[in-house]
Symmetry: C2
Subunit: 185 residues, 2 copies
DNA sequence: GAATACATGTAAAATGTTACATGATTTT
DNA sequence: AAAATCATGTAACATTTTACATGTATTC
């Protein structure tokens, strides 16, 4: 899967492993992320599979950059993947929910502390989606040939916003419910 | 992480790998899941680490069952884990969003077909949370010593419900947005 | 003077998925 | 008659994370 994300970015511009990590962090991190080390190893594998090719760009006073470029085979692979519909719901993993599920033996005060901490985090995240992320996409949208792309990017940003909103709401409800059992206001 | 899920179930009752898979599928699958094969290998590792111990229960006309039991060390490990607060937001992976993000070159009709299919899936899922899952938890809640547990289980069910609702809403919005670009009603 | 950014990567471990293997019983 | 359920597991593979390794330049 990471392969497709990397191919996707490379359709816009050539990039090094380092660049690709930066790109992911500011754009898809909401729904797809990877560690730097995984990006490097995946790119290497992709080159072996001839989906990309690379060349070294020498630099002064910085380590050389290995810049990757998508091949025709890479473009075909990506297109084929986007055309393939997903026919199932993706199963998630939510550590917090797993912990909560098995926390009946735990002191309710500890649960509450954790839930309140989480609420803070998600609220901050929500604000980021509504401000910084929104602005970044709006800027791209300004350039004429990026409007189709920006519309889809906006949709993924909106998902992040709705998700964070939902999460905060759920935390509010859950905090109230746990407070009742703990005899606390 | 799967280790803690398995330990969690084993605090309620002894169980075989097969049983644990069934339990997960009807309870935590909303936020935590695992394949049968991973459950078997993880249990084996847990026994080596002395978090569980097992014995064979012979059966007629069925393969023997290997039934696992949590040890004191296992209980301590689980308790320690639940007491450890999560101080970050978990990063998700949403294949559908990744595909959408890189789908600007794709025929809008294809995108729409996929989004509509997804809407169906999430709507069905939503109804399950509101009926079957809700009923199952309500039944457990009826037994006196399970009320604290059932309250937390209900919270995780509610998350599933809110998530599905949010997803359907987002799909509606996104479908409309893509329809506009495609000049379709 | 310390921390961060720039830039690359390898190695090992952990986690998770897919495929294979077996075979009786029960349900459709 | 075919498919699903019960029940166990192994092997191979793919993915992901964590730790290690290096060294300059810029910012605090």
């Amino acid at each position: 899967m990471l392969t497709y994300a990397l191919l996707g970015f490379l359709t816009y511009q050539n990039a090094s492993g380092y660049d690709l990590k930066q790109l992911m962090d500011v754009s898809t991190s909401n729904f797809w992320h990877a560690k730097q080390s995984q990006i490097y190893t995946t790119l290497k594998k992709m080159e072996k599979d001839e989906l990309v090719l690379s060349h070294i760009e020498p630099q002064e006073s910085r380590p050389n950059r290995r810049v990757y470029e998508i091949t025709e085979a890479g473009r075909a692979d990506l297109k084929n993947w986007t055309a393939q519909p997903i026919t199932q719901i993706e199963s998630r993993k939510e550590k917090l929910l797993l912990k909560l599920f098995f926390s009946a033996q735990l002191d309710p005060q500890r649960i509450l502390t954790e839930l309140r901490l989480q609420k803070n985090l998600h609220q901050t995240q929500l604000e980021k989606y509504q401000t910084i992320t929104k602005d970044v996409i709006a800027q791209f949208s300004a350039s004429l040939d990026m409007q189709e792309d920006a519309k889809l990017w906006e949709a993924t940003r909106r998902f992040g916003e709705l998700y964070a909103e939902m999460y905060v709401r759920w935390l509010d409800e859950t905090i109230k419910s746990v407070e009742q059992g703990a005899g606390e206001q």
